[in-house]
């Protein structure tokens, strides 16, 4: 179960301002059923004073999505449009006593709905204003503009945080590189504006996409304490997924020569172990992913030769980062 604050629970179990507002003259609809989140915000705005006199919502989504929507209506009622436009997703999360990091996107949805509703009232096309960038995450329909804004407002510095705030990259992860680019670019600008320190800025290539994928699939529900209080504490030690990639070279970009040299070095490294047992081995050929080796000395005819070959394969795979098969030849 998620670690929801008491206020989130209160606003979920007894949501305020739920339902249809008949007299609405401003409506904002965001989210999509495919994402599991959708919010319809209805507001009644006094045209003389530009003040929000009433707000109601309808939400399809989890407990925190419903609580965030309800919190939003409480936050904006009685405010002028000008003041309402200053509300950020962080204000919604703060109002609720914080949200688990994986649920921050619920507060972003509230922010988006408010922007959309005010644009609707003013007769503007909010979508145009919003879709200034290309669609980045196709799984959850998140575009560049949304990621940029989330990064900026919340001072995000990791791909994981971007996923938690916007959902981008929470699905197939094919947009991973694009998220990295946007994050690195926006962070660089933020460093220029002294919003974040240079060492905090995201460096492209510093996240292991595969580790991230595992993480998004089987995420622990333990929120970082600093986030619950509503502020991303960037002094926290970076999570495992943010640690720089190990030195394993990327297989696909390697030239054949480099691959063979790498395999050769790895096998040379193993020979000392084999020699200690009175055996030896020799690299005969490399054909694609197949590595042909010749076992000699005590290894010849040893019943454990297949174990040795297997061990060699594991060591080779580890050392080179390539999916190799080791085949003995006589």
């Amino acid at each position: 179960m998620w670690d929801y604050s008491d206020k989130v629970k209160e606003y979920f179990f007894n949501p305020k301002n739920a339902g249809v507002l008949e007299a609405a003259n401003a409506v904002g609809e965001v989210g999509a059923i495919s994402c599991g989140d959708a919010l319809k915000l209805m507001m009644s705005i006094d045209p003389d004073t530009d003040t929000i006199t009433a707000a109601k919502f309808q939400t399809f989504g989890c407990g925190s999505a419903i609580a965030s929507s309800s919190a939003l209506t409480e936050l904006i009622t009685g405010k002028t449009l000008e003041d309402a436009l200053r509300i950020t997703n962080q204000d919604i999360a703060d109002f609720l006593g914080g949200l688990p990091p994986e649920k921050m996107h619920c507060s972003v949805m509230g922010y988006e709905a408010l922007q959309a509703a005010i644009a609707n009232y003013r007769g503007e096309e909010w979508a145009d204003d919003h879709e200034e960038g290309a669609l980045v995450c196709k799984c959850f329909g998140v575009d560049e503009g949304m990621i940029e804004r989330a990064v900026r407002v919340n001072k995000l510095t990791t791909v994981e945080q971007v996923t938690n705030y916007t959902k981008a990259g929470g699905g197939c992860l094919t947009c991973f590189e694009t998220i990295e680019e946007v994050l690195a670019r926006v962070n660089a600008t933020m460093v220029g504006e002294s919003l974040i320190a240079a060492e905090e800025a995201y460096k492209a290539g510093s996240t292991d996409k595969y580790a991230l994928k595992i993480k998004t699939r089987a995420k622990t529900a333990v929120p970082e304490p600093a986030v619950v209080s509503g502020q991303m504490d960037r002094t926290l030690p970076p999570a495992a997924v943010q640690s720089p990639r190990p030195e394993a070279p990327a297989g696909r970009q390697m030239t054949t020569l480099k691959r063979i040299r790498l395999i050769e070095t790895a096998i040379d490294g193993m020979r000392s172990t084999l020699r200690a047992d009175g055996g030896d081995c020799e690299l005969i050929d490399v054909d694609g992913d197949h590595v042909y080796v010749k076992l000699s000395g005590a290894c010849t005819g040893c019943q454990l030769a297949s174990v040795t070959i297997n061990g060699m394969r594991q060591k080779l795979v580890e050392a080179t980062g390539l999916a190799l098969r080791v085949l003995p030849v006589s």
Partner: protein, 400 residues
């Protein structure tokens, strides 16, 4: 108010008789079964008894075909990794799109890091395996087929005996993750071509942290955990003797309650399903209507999201689970329901009620009493809900 526990596919309560059987093995009979002295010998005998109890439950021909492990995940990993090692000239795996992560994550990892080809056989809208695709995927390149006996989310049962015969023809090993089936369905392994089977203790009223892997006699097996000679060198490490004794006792009890599971428990499940579908519009049962576990009901309530239902049910003291995105920690709805092509409008609102012999009529009454109100409350909040018999509201959000 007595809490209502309907999440038995997640885990079960340890049977008090199982606890009683285990207790002496923490204190009086604490010996190491490998020891030569009396302390060890009595424990060794108890492990043997447990092995025979489990052998009887799964209908294995020999008791030594049972290898005790730490649970379902370890057994799944051991079976698949062993098969790849004993058949190095075969580099493909056949599995289904709806397996438990214990199998699917491992396969994805092997695909990525070892260049293994993985065939994930799709299912139809009722969760039934595409047999054509299965046949087509089998070849002399396949080292192992790993297909679950019954699905944990929908309860759909796969025809594993038949699938094992086909795998055998292709010369591949056949493993089945039977974590949800053992104890709920009669199993007689000696009459099948199944080579390996994984089971887990805590799904059948034994404790967590104990499980077993069945390895048919004659099937070549390579241990993944190296160390001592325990479990005939197929699973090193000092035996979890209290756990093993508990699993043995649980197996014995499971045989005793097998009829109950397939009659009384099934009736409870059916009454819940029928009652919910009668009281709540726009709801349907997922999974194979015919071949399904007797204890599992997976019901999709359209236009609302699962987490809200779970939170409201939890407040009423009712525990069950959901295939919705929000509860699992991932952002996508259940891979099982998506593989069945259940629309998003329903997949997010799927709730699994899973029974066991611990449940009674009152439990069903309680759910039937509160569930209609919960669904109604959330539907009133939903921008998609337009009322009974109405098409969903046209709702074109900005990002749709």
């Amino acid at each position: 108010m007595r809490p209502v526990y309907l999440d038995n596919n997640a885990t079960t309560r340890v049977d008090p008789d199982v606890v009683q059987a285990m207790l002496p093995f923490f204190t009086d009979h604490f010996g190491n079964p490998s020891s030569i002295h009396a302390f060890g010998a009595s424990v060794g005998a108890a492990v043997k008894t447990a092995r025979r109890q489990l052998q009887a439950l799964i209908g294995a021909e020999f008791d030594h075909e049972v290898v005790f492990t730490s649970g379902g995940t370890e057994s799944d990993n051991a079976a698949i990794l062993s098969a790849l090692e004993v058949m190095p000239d075969r580099t493909e795996i056949v599995t289904s799109a709806v397996e438990h992560p214990a199998v699917l994550s491992l396969c994805a990892d092997l695909e990525k890091r070892r260049g293994i080809t993985v065939h994930r056989i799709p299912v139809d809208r009722h969760g039934r395996l595409d047999l054509e695709a299965y046949r087509a995927a089998l070849s002399s390149r396949v080292a192992i087929v790993s297909i679950m006996w019954a699905n944990n989310e929908t309860g759909t049962i796969f025809p594993v005996a038949e699938l094992a015969e086909l795998a055998k023809e292709a010369g591949a090993l056949f493993h089945t993750d039977a974590v949800q089936a053992v104890g709920k369905l009669p199993i007689d392994l000696r009459s099948t071509a199944i080579d390996m089977l994984s089971l887990s203790g805590h799904k059948l009223h034994a404790p967590k942290g104990i499980g077993a892997l069945y390895v048919k006699r004659g099937v070549r097996f390579r241990s993944q955990i190296k160390g001592g000679h325990q479990e005939r060198a197929r699973r090193a490490g000092t035996e979890n003797t209290p756990g093993i004794v508990g699993l043995g006792k649980a197996a014995e009890l499971a045989m005793k309650f097998m009829d109950d599971e397939n009659t009384r428990v099934k009736t409870l499940r059916d009454r819940l399903e029928k009652g919910l579908l009668q009281a709540i519009p726009n709801a349907f049962v997922t999974g194979d209507p015919r071949e399904r576990l007797p204890n599992t009901a997976n019901i999709a309530f359209e236009y609302i999201e699962g987490e809200g239902m779970l939170l409201l049910l939890n407040r009423e003291g009712i525990a069950c689970s959901s295939g919705s995105a929000c509860t699992s920690g991932s952002l996508e709805p259940s891979h099982v329901l998506r593989a069945m092509d259940i629309p998003y409008t329903a997949a997010h609102g799927a709730i699994r009620f899973s029974f066991s012999r611990d449940n009674c009529e009152d439990d069903v009454d309680r759910v039937l009493e509160v569930m209609p109100g919960i669904v109604e409350k959330l539907r009133e909040l939903s921008p998609f809900w337009a009322g009974v018999g109405e098409a969903p509201k046209t709702f074109n959000p900005v990002y749709a």
